[in-house]
Amino acid sequence: MDEAVRAGPPADALVRARALFAQFFRREAPTRYLGSVTGLAWALVHPIALLAVYHFVFTTVFRATGFAGSSFLAFVAVALWPWLAAQEAIQRAAVSIPGYGGLIRKVAFPHEVVVYASVAATLALHFAGYVVVLVVLRAIGEPIHLAGLLLAIPLWAVMALAVAGLSLALSALQVFVRDVEHVLMPVLMMLMYLTPILYPLSLVPETMRGVVSANPFTWLVDRLRAALLEGRLGLEAGDLVAVAVALALFAAGRWIFVRLSPHFEDFV
């Protein structure tokens, strides 16, 4: 397949993609949150309500203990927010392309910008919620090391890279096979319980621990807890592996997207 040759300095394409990203980001964020009456509050209400329910179930009903010397609230909040952010970002981005069908059919523009804008809008919003919740928890006396937020930013960035890769692949597949959206929900739900978000890795039986640790999200949860609950800000060897995994996910997702996106026009 021959590429269409489009002349002009490459910087042009980048400038244009940036302008488009800004436009699409604005389009994604307000239509979802500011457009509704409840507005921005939704970004906090859903995770806080979930946190409250988990707190009730695990500490009151199950009387679970062993949260690495931390309180359940702080222990779960630190990991739950990034997970919900990633989950929502993937779910929204996966169905983001059809919303731009009118543009895709009539206007030439880099389609991947749609996915980046969708992922960025969701993650940015939930990161803001994350900061608010951590500050509030600290204020009510939970053992949170706010300095850990310095490390949380690059950790979220690595997550964003992986989430973008997954979203690129899923959104491209969704254009052709509409079932992707429906399979995604239960799969993400199951993955959440297989990730040490509501429990520490130490409670997982030895035989299963290897499998659970292989989950890249386990690394993220682990590093976030180290930074925010214990105040450990140093880098580890495993971080390099995680960055490599995120890059690989992004590259693979983008490869799939680039292969499929020239055919969106006929299917959106």
């Binding site: 590429e3 400038v15 389009r27 239509t31 597949l173 052709f176 006929d266």
Partner: protein, 424 residues
């Protein structure tokens, strides 16, 4: 944006340098999905870098080049692949085969208002459209004024465009696309929308754009617009180039083909009806001089031989009909008091000259009939196709002698500007 556009005068082929736009062997296939699992199979094929296993070819083997200042009209029936071709040029679709090279900014008006978001205000949509067109904020700031002026929305500029009338959306779309000075402007039948005053504004803008050296790729069903705005035309038929050349020539060929097609049901193909048995008068041969193609105003001679079973001179009737069967003119030897020339005891030669053929360009059929000497029985006829060529935008079948009482146009850029649009 850049002031180095060289204006080429009408008819001047002096433009040099590489073409602004060049298509070489461009083809586009669309995947055909035949079953539920077909989509999964298609994704698998695409991921492996193969084309779809089952495809429909929308456009194939299209090549052309456009230099700065040229204008090309794409014509053809619905479903001929015009829109697909324009989308390929605009970069909306990547071609399955061949290459498209564009040097410069392409402005595409494939559907006015298609890049707009209904919840945004007119003003916000200008920002969005500019970003889509690849315009930098600094450049947009410079041109915002003229966009707002052309769109002429007044206080509605700050209302969400979902409250706009379609005419207002169209005005805004045209204003944005045109104000951003594309090197090549691609439009798909957009002149057909909007009210009359807006259409006039569009036409005036287009003429001005072309006069200023702009390059236009237009897709239209209106031969009037194509002839008025474009120097060249490309006729697409079933995805392939049927004809490519000067706009007048191609549009006339297209119209002639249409006439022929609409008349096809009446069996208007050139053919020979031989009479029953050897004992009737009939036309043995028929020829056109200079041939099938004659320029308007040039001489045409119809000659041939007729057979007579009883050695008496037959009456020969020559008729001209348009390709769809509409009779244009017919004349017989006996009407003018002549008889065919005898060349053998049963063969007669006839020759009819039109010193200056006043048929308008298009496709016609020449028919010769041999009648008995009394001119009563019409036994058979022989047909030959005739194509009248030439550049003319006159309407109808024949050029009638005429004279206007008027004065030469006062430096109007296009003498056709005041002609009423009766075509299309």
């Amino acid at each position: 944006m850049n002031g180095e556009r060289t204006a080429t005068g009408a008819g001047g082929d002096s433009s040099s340098g590489p073409p602004l736009l060049e298509l070489a062997g461009v083809g586009k296939d669309y995947a055909k999905i035949e079953s539920r699992g077909g989509r999964v199979a298609l994704v698998w094929d695409l991921l492996r870098g193969r084309g779809a296993s089952s495809a429909f070819t929308a456009v194939d083997g299209v090549s052309f080049a456009m230099r700065a200042g040229e204008s090309l009209g794409v014509i053809g029936e619905n479903g001929a692949g015009k829109s697909t071709l324009l989308k390929v040029v605009a970069g909306v679709i990547r071609p399955t085969r061949g290459t498209v090279s564009v040097r410069g900014r392409v402005g595409a008006l494939l559907e006015l208002g298609s890049g707009f978001h209904p919840e945004y205000t007119g003003s916000q949509n200008i920002d969005l459209a500019a970003a889509l067109l690849g315009v930098t904020p600094a450049e947009l700031a410079q041109r915002r004024e003229s966009i707002v002026r052309f769109a002429d929305l007044g206080p509605h500029l700050d209302d969400p465009i979902k409250h706009y009338s379609s005419g207002m959306v169209v005005r805004l779309g045209f204003a944005v696309a045109t104000a951003l000075a594309p090197d090549v402007l691609i439009t798909d039948e957009v002149l057909a929308v909007g009210d009359e005053s807006f259409q006039k504004k569009c036409m005036a803008w287009m003429e001005n754009y072309l006069a200023g050296g702009g390059t236009l790729l237009l897709c239209s069903h209106s031969m009037y617009h194509v002839q008025k705005l474009c120097r060249h035309a490309l006729w697409l038929r079933a995805g392939r180039v049927e004809r490519y050349g000067p706009a007048i020539e191609v549009t006339q060929a297209y119209l002639a083909w249409h006439e022929e097609k609409s008349g096809a049901g009446k069996a208007r193909r050139p053919e020979v009806h031989t009479g029953e048995g050897p004992d009737v008068h009939r036309v043995r041969s028929l020829a056109l001089d200079p041939g099938e193609f004659v320029r308007i105003g040039a001489p045409l001679t119809v000659r041939g031989e007729a057979y007579s079973p009883d050695a008496r001179a037959p009456v020969v009737l020559i008729g001209l009909v348009r390709a769809d069967g509409t009779p244009v003119y017919g004349v017989a030897t006996d009407m003018d008091g002549v008889a065919p020339r005898r060349i053998a005891h049963d063969r007669y030669a006839f020759s009819l000259e039109f010193p200056s053929l006043s048929l308008l360009p298009g496709k016609y059929v020449v028919r010769a009939h041999a009648l008995d000497p009394e001119g009563v029985y019409l036994f058979d006829h022989v047909e030959l196709p005739l194509t009248v060529t030439g550049e003319s935008r006159e309407l109808g079948l024949v050029r009638l002698a005429h004279r206007w009482d008027g004065e030469p146009p006062a430096e109007s850029p296009s003498p056709a500007a005041t002609r009423p649009d009766t075509t299309g």
